[in-house]
């Protein structure tokens, strides 16, 4: 705490870089000015991270874009924002162009779309350099390579000539960061810099940004909705809601002593990894990690006796760490690339017991289409879900978790092994043969905006399965639909509305009502809350839990968010590159992960608590370091 206050003191002693007073943003829509943000007043100091937190539509992004004059053509900024002596609001284009990328630069959310697809990564960095600095192409290339090394891109010489689509998501974001840092800006605006990334990649980028923050003396405005990221990075925090600042203060003040009810509500809504288990989640401190690392190291050593340098250097670290560890060394030692499933005690799939869903050594393929070859997205999956049980399926994008959900619905073919729903095999069934079985399984999709037919009133969407399977019509159907709406806590008048008129949370409730309309024995929930704001997510999860208790369906809950899964599921299965790598009780997996990938995943999750996160950070960095090449 004392270190924190001194850091605060030194930070505030520095001259402020950006001074914002009474900043407002308005949009001209349908002959009216709409307020997107108003009354923002804050300063950003050198070497300090100011986080602007808020849910979608809170105006956090627009207000920051107005600093650079990058509002859409119907936007307008008022008030004052001073960068040193320069007033940014109302600055003419010509002069603004000198400031953009030079004094203030931006890291955007989606690196895939934020980089121009037809130019190489190197060119885009060089371009920024050459606009603002009097530099020749050779010199600029040298500097760009230097920047690429700074943001830790492997093989910068080669990547320099890569096009954005040839890079991974993390690498693209690194290029974006390199580009933003090119001219050593005084102020860096990071607009949801990690939202589009997988959690382990997010961890890497956060680590990088922390390192850079200490190296460069720039002020950073971090715009995000993720409290975990805020806890990891921020020195000071502004909480925004509906265009207004509701609270501001240092990170500790906001997290440990929130004043405004909205801030409190927001903090409560955030799922917190490790709250559902006794003891702490994996990666809470360095101790855990060192044990794990030791295991990993040994595994590698077993495999090939010290063949690479990275392992060698790790061994040194471990030599000191091992004696201190409490030693849960009874785990089998697993390599990062191992595709074997590790079953925690009691989770071995037992196919003799009755189950809602069974996967017996299943492989799933996306069928060949035209010239595209068939793609196998899941291999050798053994999984059994007991009636009434909720199993969480976790993995990063491309891990094949959604594939399994779709195959369980018969939307993708099972090509090997056998898939049983409610005891009946669905392998190789045609759409028609599957129809009677459809009653047994419901699904809630990720994007509630896309999973409801935009041309049908939601009541009709909810009633469709009833109409198709039970031939229910007229008043009987209406009554049933009303019951379902009531069950998901929506007013019955919503029946006649269209999906686009509802909020995200309401749409997802409709999705759940539809999935439950036939009282299925199994529900596949495919990232049901990942498109929702935190506070809405919390409510939907509450609803989900109470419905699960009421109806008693079994559920395969697919998510990338470990904290959410931990809260909902009794068992967790972890997937990587199409293989199931670990499965066990939630507490087992969260507290004592065995597979290095699970460890990496767990340590990467930021928790919305600065102090805890500070401890976790070290652990995280160590794990990242060790599993970098994996």
């Amino acid at each position: 705490m004392t270190a924190q206050t001194t850091a605060e003191a030194t930070a505030s002693a520095k001259s402020p870089i950006l001074d914002v007073t009474d900043l407002g943003v308005n949009f001209w829509v349908s002959d009216e000015w709409w307020m997107a943000a108003e009354g923002l007043t804050y300063t950003v100091n050198a070497g300090e991270v100011l986080a602007i937190v808020g849910e979608s539509g809170s105006g956090k992004s627009q207000s920051s874009m107005s600093l650079l004059g990058l509002l859409p053509s119907n936007g307008r900024a008022t008030g004052s924002a001073k960068l040193g002596d320069t007033e940014l609001i109302g600055l003419p284009q010509e002069r603004m162009q000198h400031i953009r990328g030079n004094d203030i630069s931006v890291i955007f959310q989606e690196p895939m779309t934020a980089l121009n697809p037809v130019y190489t990564a190197g060119f885009q960095i060089v371009e920024t350099l050459r606009v603002h600095m009097n530099m020749g192409p050779k010199e600029a290339k040298e500097r760009a390579l230097e920047l690429m090394r700074l943001v830790e891109i492997p093989d910068p010489e080669e990547r320099f000539h890569s096009f954005p689509h040839q890079l991974s998501g993390g690498q693209r974001q690194r290029i974006m960061i390199a580009q933003a840092l090119a001219c050593q800006p005084k102020l860096l605006i990071a607009d949801e810099p990690t939202t589009a990334l997988d959690v382990t990649v997010q961890a890497e980028i956060l680590k990088l940004m922390r390192e850079l923050k200490s190296k460069l003396d720039a002020g950073i405005i971090l715009i995000t909705h993720d409290m975990g990221v805020v806890a990891d990075m921020a020195d000071r925090i502004i909480v925004m809601r509906a265009g207004k600042v509701v609270e501001s203060g240092t990170a500790d003040e906001i997290f440990y002593n929130p004043q405004h009810p909205y801030t409190k509500q927001l903090l409560e809504a955030v799922p917190h990894l490790g709250t559902e288990i006794e003891g702490e989640a994996f990666g809470a401190d360095l101790g855990d990690v060192e044990v794990a690392l030791h295991d990993l190291e040994e595994a590698e050593a077993d495999e090939s006796a010290g063949d690479d340098l990275a392992a060698g250097s790790l061994a040194d670290d471990d030599a000191e760490a091992t004696p201190a560890s409490t030693g849960e060394a009874d785990h089998p030692q697993i390599e990062m690339d191992s595709t074997e499933t590790y079953y925690h005690p009691g989770s071995q799939a037992d196919f003799s017991k009755p189950s809602a869903l069974q996967l017996r050594d299943v492989a799933i393929e996306y069928p060949a289409l035209g010239r595209k070859k068939a793609f196998r997205a899941a291999h050798h999956i053994n999984l059994s879900i007991a009636p009434g049980e909720v199993v969480g399926l976790v993995g990063e994008s491309g891990s094949g978790k959604t594939t399994i959900g779709r195959a369980a619905l018969g939307l993708l073919p099972t090509v090997e092994g056998d898939m049983l729903v409610g005891g009946k095999s669905i392998k190789g069934l045609s759409n028609k043969q599957l129809r009677p079985l459809r009653k047994e399984v419901g699904i809630v999709f990720q994007d509630p905006g896309s999973s409801l037919n935009p041309r049908l009133p939601v009541g009709e969407s909810i009633g469709e399965p009833l109409y198709l399977h039970e031939g229910m019509k007229g008043p009987a159907l209406n009554k049933k639909v009303e019951e379902l709406l009531h069950a998901v806590e929506l007013p019955t008048t919503m029946r006649n509305r269209y999906p686009h008129e509802l909020s995200g949370g309401q749409r997802q409730r409709i999705g759940i009502a539809r999935a439950l309309s036939l009282r299925p024995k199994l529900l596949i929930a495919d990232e049901p809350t990942s498109a929702l704001d935190v506070s809405v997510q919390a409510k939907v999860l509450d609803l989900f839990e109470s419905l699960q208790a009421l109806y008693g369906f079994a559920c395969l809950f697919i998510s990338h968010d470990l904290a959410v899964v931990e809260r909902i599921a009794s068992r967790i299965a972890v997937m990587r590159h199409g293989y199931l790598v670990e499965i066990g009780q939630s507490s087992q997996v969260v507290a004592n992960p065995v597979h290095p990938y699970t460890q990496r995943l767990l340590s990467a999750v930021p928790v919305p608590d600065p102090k805890e996160q500070r401890k976790r950070r070290e652990a995280r960095d160590a794990v990242l370091e060790a599993t970098m090449d994996a």
Binding site: L70, V106, T113, A114, V118, T128, V131, H132, F163
Partner: protein
């Protein structure tokens, strides 16, 4: 990539075969091979029918005849073309095709290039000035062009673009100044809308454009330029300097003095070479090979000058100088062609009515390289305008849509956030991406052009493929029709291949993946 192209080639060739087969059978039903005999009162009518049946081999079933035709046509692959005969005139189809293909390609190439350049430029500006008066005007004009029947425009063009202008050239008296004043103000408004900007800048643009247009028209009328059109060394210098400035502005911005000076150097070289070139043209009989050679030399000189100016980006400079040099070269070429104007215009075959309404070349004009070219150009003028009008609209609309889409993309915001100026954002980041999808409409448009050529060629008496097709349809000559279908199909396939190739070159995502 090659595998992909081969696969596509194979499938389209198969499709073409099926199309020719189906159309062959349909044509056998649709065409009346005895139309000229129906009203005949000849006593030996029976015998005439008999001989026609024998001539066209009508007793053989159509399917068999198709394969006979196909066998003859596939002879083209080994250099022994047999595409049948046009029975009415008795000429071999291969003979008929020779001139026709060249003429059609001439017409279509000229129009396509003009339409693409104009369409992209106007569409781009229209997108940048979205919802401005200019944008609405262009939208209206392109809808109007979509709605214009090309044959109707062609008749109007003949009347007002050729007959009246020829009259005016012969008797240049103005009945009223109003049309000219209106035209000047329209030009003023056009440029004001296109360049946009603040109130003051708009007024300046408007006045400047109006006055420049008026000055130009006044000069043209007062100096009798229409009777004796020339460019001359003054014109070459003016155009050269203008091109240098505009090209520099578009490629790197006028702030880059090095590029500006390099392009201006090219303009000066162009002006200095003007006289020596005239001597060369005078003493040496020219042909297209010479022209190609000179063109290559021009490009070489331009690259040389560009590189000689060194600087950090020699190739940016070279690119600008090359564009400038090409414009100057074309100007000098046009100047030399125009020098033959009076000789051409006063030749008896032309009789002082230089703008042609019929045919691809005037009969009995025997001149050197320059006169023949002038003759071709005067004949190309009207049919090309008619064709350009058809496809200009679609390029404009397409570019506009594509540009608007791209301008809303995240990477444009990134480019702005980097501190690039608007010119760089648009020319470097937006345009390149906006042009990608255009590669896929070019072949479609070329096929439309070939279709449009059917009408324009018929109306302007341009001896191309389209006219051949229509004439043969009217005369029920099956073989030339089939040849037309075959060749148009092959052109379409080639256009598609070129588009695929272009796409692959322009879009790194495809280049790498395929």
């Amino acid at each position: 990539m090659i595998k992909f192209i081969l696969r596509r080639l194979l499938s389209t060739v198969l499709v073409l075969l099926v199309v020719t087969f189906v159309l062959y059978l349909l044509l056998n039903v649709a065409l009346d091979f005895f139309w000229d005999l129906r009203s005949s009162t000849s006593p030996n009518i029976e015998a005439l029918y008999e001989s026609r049946i024998r001539l066209l081999d009508l007793e053989t079933p159509a399917i068999v005849r198709y394969f006979k035709w196909l066998a003859g046509a596939s002879g083209c692959l080994v250099g022994q073309c047999d595409l049948g005969i046009a029975w009415k005139s008795g000429q071999e189809v291969t003979y008929l095709l020779q001139g026709a293909i060249v003429n059609t390609i001439k017409l279509i190439t000229a129009s396509t290039i003009v339409a693409i350049i104009l369409g992209i430029a106007v569409g781009m500006v229209s997108a940048i000035r979205q919802y401005s008066g200019f944008d609405y005007f262009i939208t209206f004009v392109s809808f109007l062009l979509y709605s214009l029947p090309v044959f109707w425009v062609a008749v109007l063009l003949k009347q007002y673009g050729a007959i009246e202008i020829n009259n005016f050239i012969n008797d240049p008296t103005l009945t009223s100044w109003w049309p000219i004043i209106i035209a000047c103000i329209a030009m003023g408004l056009f440029w004001m809308g296109a360049l946009g900007g603040g109130k003051k800048r708009r007024i300046i643009t408007f006045l400047a454009a109006t006055l420049v247009t008026f000055g130009t028209i006044y000069y043209i009328l007062a100096s009798g330029w229409l009777q004796q059109p020339t460019i001359g060394v003054v014109g070459v210098v003016l155009i050269g300097v203008g091109a240098a400035i505009v090209m520099t502005f578009l490629s790197t911005g006028l702030k880059n003095k090095r590029v500006l000076y390099a392009s201006l150097t090219i303009a000066v070289i162009g002006a200095l070479l003007y006289m020596p070139l005239q001597y060369l043209f005078y003493y040496q009989e020219m042909n297209w090979l010479w022209m190609l050679g000179l063109f290559i030399v021009t490009i070489g000189v331009a690259i040389g000058v560009g590189l000689a100016f060194r600087g950090p980006d020699p190739w940016d400079t070279a690119r600008t100088t090359v564009f400038t040099a090409v414009i100057i070269a074309v100007t000098i070429f046009a100047d030399r062609v125009l020098q033959g104007w009076s000789e051409y215009s006063s030749s008896p075959a032309i009789n002082n009515r230089p703008i042609a309404t019929i045919g691809a070349s005037a009969p009995n004009v025997n001149g050197d390289f320059w006169i023949t070219n002038l003759d071709t150009f005067t004949h190309l003028l009207l049919p090309s305008i008619a064709l350009v009008l058809i496809s200009f609209a679609s390029y404009t609309r397409y570019t506009r849509g594509s540009m608007l889409e791209v301008m809303g993309q995240d990477y444009i915001r990134t480019a702005r956030a980097k501190g690039l100026n608007e010119r760089t954002v648009i020319m470097r980041h937006a345009l390149r991406n906006a042009l990608l999808p255009l590669a896929s409409i070019i072949p479609v448009d070329i096929i439309t052009m070939i279709g449009g050529a059917v009408i324009t060629e018929t109306i302007f008496g341009w001896n191309g493929m389209g006219k051949l097709f229509i004439d043969s349809m009217r005369q029920s000559e099956l073989d030339p029709i089939m040849a037309y279908i075959l060749i148009t199909g092959i052109l379409a396939i080639i256009a598609n291949l070129v588009a695929d190739f272009l796409y692959a070159v322009l879009d790194p995502r495809i280049r790498v993946n395929a």
